[in-house]
């Protein structure tokens, strides 16, 4: 299958100034990561807060400049030239976490949805209106003509996230990067938005990068998953295999931590397979070493992301099975 996106050795470090001292520390937000995405594929980027998921997304969209690395989108290398930037900004759309913050409450739904078309100077006014109404039908906000004239506060959280999705769709993107699109929504309507995303993917062959720290919703949408830890991809592969048979100790710890609604949980303590972090430089050797219950002497060196099975990669000297 054709590749829609290929990310090669992408790196972005930030200098972080101490609050009380003038000393600077470096945050390796994204550190030499590579992955690719096929047309129509859903790749999940998972990992705890601060692992570099959103930075990766911003780098792909060139909202920030990478320190190094290359990005190819639909056959074009994304660089500083306006042609490649226009291409990625039109054909790759981003959906953010907060449906309340990502749309302007003073704008009518029609204006919110027209805006991207106006920015990219697409179509006549009548054509734009048609595209917007089509997008509203796509996300099943009916009757579209009614919704068109409403303001965001008149809609529920789930409906608002559909508006955000519709706004991404009006430009007919090939890739949608969804950064925690359902984490602010009620559990009871999360599945509604995810199901819609999946339908759109199947219908239009849209590819997704689905960013989340919630592995249970990840499984619903994704085919492949990459687990990030402190700027590195530590494990990747087909989602069911990774989630059912994790190879990396960090993935295993994440999975253990998830609760399922089972009354038996009441009787036992939750197993937490990470240690209290040791006070060591996390960028020396394996980054998970400070918390890893399996660490051995060799882990003072940095493990490489290596093949551990068909389509599976893990960066760990011990590798669980």
């Amino acid at each position: 299958m054709e590749e829609i996106l290929s990310v090669q050795n992408l790196t972005k470090h930030f200098a972080k100034k101490g609050i009380f001292s003038s000393s600077r520390t470096v945050v390796k937000a994204v550190d030499d990561i590579s992955f690719s995405l096929k047309k129509g594929e859903v790749l999940v980027l998972a990992g705890e807060s601060g692992s570099g998921k959103s930075t990766t997304a911003r780098l792909i969209l060139r909202a920030i400049e990478p320190d190094s690395g290359r990005i190819f989108f639909d056959g074009t290398e994304i660089g500083k030239d306006s042609k490649s930037l226009d291409k990625i900004r039109m054909q790759c759309q981003m959906i953010h976490q907060d449906p309340y913050a990502s749309i302007d409450p003073r704008m009518k739904i029609s204006d919110i949805l027209m805006e991207p078309l106006e920015i990219h100077k697409i179509g006549t006014k009548a054509e734009r209106k048609k595209k917007v109404l089509d997008a509203l039908h796509e996300v099943k906000l009916e009757p579209a003509e009614d919704i068109f004239n409403k303001f965001p506060h008149m809609l529920s959280g789930g409906q608002r996230q559909r508006i955000v999705l519709a706004r991404a769709l009006v430009l007919k993107p090939k890739l949608i990067i969804a950064d925690e699109p359902v984490s602010m929504l009620d559990v009871s309507i999360r599945a509604e938005v995810l199901e819609l995303m999946r339908e759109l993917q199947e219908k239009h062959d849209i590819s997704y990068i689905y960013i989340t720290h919630d592995l249970s919703t990840a499984r619903y949408l994704g085919q492949n998953i990459s687990i990030m830890y402190l700027g590195k991809i530590v494990e990747s592969g087909p989602i069911d295999e990774v989630l059912l048979h994790p190879r990396h100790p960090y993935t295993q710890a994440l999975l253990d931590a998830i609760s399922e609604p089972e009354p038996d949980n009441l009787l036992k303590e939750k197993k937490i397979r990470i240690n209290e972090p040791l006070d060591i430089d996390v960028y020396q050797g394996c980054r998970f070493r400070a918390r890893c219950p399996y660490a051995i002497e060799k882990c003072k060196e940095e493990p490489l992301l290596e093949q551990t099975g068909q389509d599976r990669l893990a960066a760990c000297f011990v590798k669980l099975d």
Binding site: I19, E48, S49, S156, G157, D186, V187, S188, I189, R190, A191, E192, L194, E195, H213, D214, L215, S216, T217, R219, Y220, L243, L244, A253, L254, L255, D256, A257, I258, S259, E260, P261, E262, P263, N265, L266, E269, K270, I272, I274
Partner: protein, 311 residues
């Protein structure tokens, strides 16, 4: 013996458009040693229920009902007596989002001292603070830190510790794990389990039914201001009765097992003069003519359900 019982509690907020009946005729009781989980979608009245038990409902008022703790009514008791003898001493609460409202200009220790002063605590402050910090699994060095120097999990432990200062018997924890990473969530869950072992009874408010299974013997499901089902955890998880409870459980994405998830179409009614009859009527797959009348509470094995199917 009955530990706490809530009877026909009604709490509302007066607004320009009318009264928002956020807690509408809610009842449940816990035996000694039991904890309860309160679940339901956003705006169904979970926090208002917690705040009502604490008798601090900003901008709202408790219109009727009764709350008894170990046989004594704490709702009929005067405001001053409640403040002096019950609030924070017997019952305390970790407010929703409290970890984000720690004061950025004071150290953790200074904030603990402030809380103890407010409680007019008469013992040794240093010793008390040191004890409480230990009990939530933190080390003493957090005391000298400012909130921005702490991780989310540490801040959550601090606000839990603040609620525990006067050794309450009943702690209401409102969304204590929301917005935390799963690994940190698991640690907070274990902390709640430990508090239970130490003899505390917990009311865990969360929209996450999976987390409730970790700490609660009893579960109350709320919908549009009503507690529509109440019962033991095994009964709610294995044999849910109310169509809303059933739908809520089916909407949870699972890590293992089936990938198909279902969601609940539609939205709950307004809490300002909601329509007569069952509040789930518009969204209920089993709605019938009779449901246009308010369903009473029908007894179940371990609690009750408010649905005409169980008449």
């Amino acid at each position: 013996m009955t530990f706490i019982s809530i009877e026909n509690l009604k709490t509302g907020y007066e607004t320009r458009n009318g009264t928002v009946q956020a807690v509408d005729d809610v009842s449940f009781a816990l035996e000694n040693g039991e904890s309860i989980g309160i679940a339901g979608e956003s705006a169904c009245g979970k926090s208002t229920l917690g705040l009502s038990i604490m008798r601090i409902v900003p901008d709202g008022n408790i219109a009727s009902g009764d709350i008894t703790l170990e046989g004594k009514s704490i709702l009929k008791m005067s405001k001053s007596e409640f403040a002096k003898n019950v609030r924070w001493k017997d019952i305390s609460m970790v407010f929703q989002g409290a970890m984000n409202s720690l004061d950025p200009v004071f150290t953790v220790e200074e904030q603990f001292i402030e809380v103890l002063k407010q409680h007019r605590y008469s013992g040794d402050y240093k010793q008390k603070i040191s004890e409480i910090v230990n009990s939530v699994g933190l080390t003493q060095d957090v005391l000298k830190k400012y909130p921005h120097e702490l991780s989310g999990g540490m801040k959550q432990r601090i606000v839990i510790a603040m609620a525990l200062l006067l050794k309450p018997k009943f702690v209401i924890a409102d969304e204590p794990t929301t917005a935390l990473d799963v690994l940190v969530q698991a640690q907070i869950i274990n902390l709640l389990k430990k508090l239970k072992k130490d003899g505390m009874s917990i009311m865990l408010i969360t929209h996450d039914l999976a987390i409730i299974s970790e700490v609660a013997e009893k579960i109350g499901i709320m919908y549009a201001g009503k507690m529509i089902e109440f019962g033991s955890a095994p009964e709610i998880y294995k044999n849910p009765k109310h169509p809303y409870t059933q739908a809520l459980l089916k909407s949870i994405p699972r890590l293992r097992g089936d990938k198909v998830t279902n969601y609940i179409r539609g939205t709950p009614p307004s809490l300002i003069q909601p329509p007569q009859g069952c509040r789930f009527y518009d969204r209920c797959p089993e709605a019938m003519e009779k449901c246009k009348k308010d369903p009473p509470k029908f007894k179940t094995g371990s609690g009750y359900v408010s649905c005409w199917l169980y008449e």
